[in-house]
Symmetry: C2
């Protein structure tokens, strides 16, 4: 295994090395890496900007996170925010701080995941910053997207009577984290071993290699469906629903029986003696889209195989409740994702 | 002294606390903090994006850096990049990772500097991320600006025969750093003491509280002067000139005698037995603008008191040289700023 010290390249060398193969694909990317700033031309469309910071030891554990997956996920997390505005991501900037514990090969691996996500999602890497750190790895990504003004969907525009919907399955990433934390000991015994995920569980993939719901965004455009409010499920369904309710000044209920939970997630959750619906409600990092639609638009959801109606928006004084499968009403409180 | 633990507020509490007084001032800021992403409307103007990452122990030392100044500087560094595109900064996003060594009051101080810079430079804080870190403080800022397409100035468009110009004075920040490193011991003896800069030297201010050259940008617009190429002096004049030359495929010479060095900088440099021109050439973090203009535009610089012509762009085969005051030619090699 070749190990090139970061100091062998120097800062400019490293930037050049990491970005030399970047080709701009969006016509709106007028100027990419290599100047004081990038230049984006969104003409008469609106520009949407989102940013996220990921810190080693807080957001990820390199014992069981392959660097390529980490790079991929760091991009996905940001694109998910752009899709949650009902906008199309077009550019990202990537800044990293790395300690000399990392070799150039390691940083390469990280960037190969970043480049792969860019390629798959049709996004241009247009700039960033690379610096050293005293300890550990920090990744900061800013994503930029575009949309026509009348297409943008905010969090504060849900209306009483709207249907509450979610894409995909919930709770998988949370259960995947429990599994990896348990298996961490195995990896620790051979520190040179990078975890191999090729034949790992669905739930491990949900944590380590999530996708952003580009397809759901595209479905909205294709069937001309505009959600009334939307957020991505990063902190956990309950926490993210609370954001919509608080900002829209409404209440809501969620039907426990309607929560979409993959079978693999349910089985593994029960292994851990965790109620699957608790994982779905309070686990985070699923990067699904949680949104509300007008009742008259329910019809358009009929053919969306991967979207489910899980509840309804109610009057603010009704509060925010879970209707359990046992017929009880339980108030929903944000428990959020553990690293917050 | 009150100390509120960051954990008392929680992530959402902290974001709300830090941003509750943010008022958007640019009409292009359609949506600020509080959704998945911010929304910017730049109509038919071009959007310019720049990002920088600052890491404790690498880019700043809290022993002698008051947190308010640090927040201010973190913004300035990014705005300087936008001005270096001949664009007007309009928005920033701020992400921070803080360890529990920092109290809410400390983070407040940091943000008070960020807010002050936003206010002075007329920029909106539109989003960001706040998270914990295992160790130390990391600040990641992305600045967004706008310009008409034909006003944008890049690094790769300098022409043979153009005059090489720089704003303000050089080397001050570098000498300020030497001074503070020497005095660090004094501060270390009383760890609770935050350095007081009110009556400190000009050069300490150059390092700890730099300004971005908004006035120079405005001067360009007022007298309808468009530089042919431009960069901000962050890594050091020689290093940044090399960027222009390499990307424009030209050579250049700099007249040592024309280097603008403040008297305070010269005197203190000599105290440290450093040639002042070495500080001006290789010191970094001055955040002045280094740019080239067509010879016929020299006339417009006549009344710009704070801009000096320091050299000329030459053929690529002529290389990049310093003409010393002693009449020698010395090749300029990037030495850059020590943390890179």
């Amino acid at each position: 295994m070749v190990r090139t010290e970061l100091s062998d390249l120097g800062e400019f060398g490293l930037i050049e090395h990491l970005t030399k193969d970047v080709k701009l694909i969006n016509t709106s990317s007028l100027k990419g890496i290599g100047d004081d700033a990038a230049v984006i031309d969104h003409g008469s469309l609106k520009t949407v900007v989102s940013t996220d910071l990921m810190v080693e030891g807080i957001h990820f554990d390199l014992v069981y996170t392959p660097l390529k997956h980490l790079g991929y996920k760091a991009v996905i997390v940001n694109l998910s925010d752009i899709y949650a505005m009902n906008a199309k991501p077009t550019q990202i900037t990537v800044s990293i701080a790395v300690s000399n514990r990392f070799s150039v090969e390691a940083v390469n691996e990280l960037y190969s995941g970043i480049h792969l996500a860019c390629q798959i999602y049709g996004v241009d890497l247009i700039g960033g910053d690379t610096t050293s750190s005293i300890k550990g790895l920090t990744i900061s990504i800013t994503a930029i997207g575009m949309a026509a003004e009348n297409k943008l969907v905010y969090r504060d525009t849900a209306n009483i009577g709207d249907l509450l919907c979610v894409s995909g399955f919930l709770g998988g990433a949370y259960v995947g984290l429990q599994l990896l934390e348990r298996e961490k000991q195995i990896y620790l015994e051979d520190k040179n071993m990078q975890p191999d995920l090729e034949n790992k569980d669905y739930i491990v993939g949900r944590l380590l290699k999530p996708e952003a719901r580009k397809d759901v965004y595209e479905f909205f455009q294709k069937c001309d469906l505009k959600p009334t409010a939307m957020i991505d499920v990063s902190d956990g369904l309950s926490s993210d629903l609370l954001h919509i309710c608080r900002q829209s000044k409404v209440g809501a209920f969620v039907e426990e029986g309607a929560l979409p939970i993959a079978q693999e997630t349910s089985l593994k959750a029960m292994d851990f003696k965790l109620p699957p619906s608790t994982c779905a409600l309070h686990g985070g990092e699923d990067y699904e889209l949680l949104f509300t639609v007008k009742p008259k638009d329910a019809d358009k959801l009929k053919y969306a195989l991967d979207i489910r109606i899980i509840g309804e928006i109610t009057k603010p004084e009704d509060g925010i409740y879970l209707h359990t499968t046992g017929g009880k009403r339980r108030e929903l409180i944000a428990q959020g994702w553990q690293h917050h």
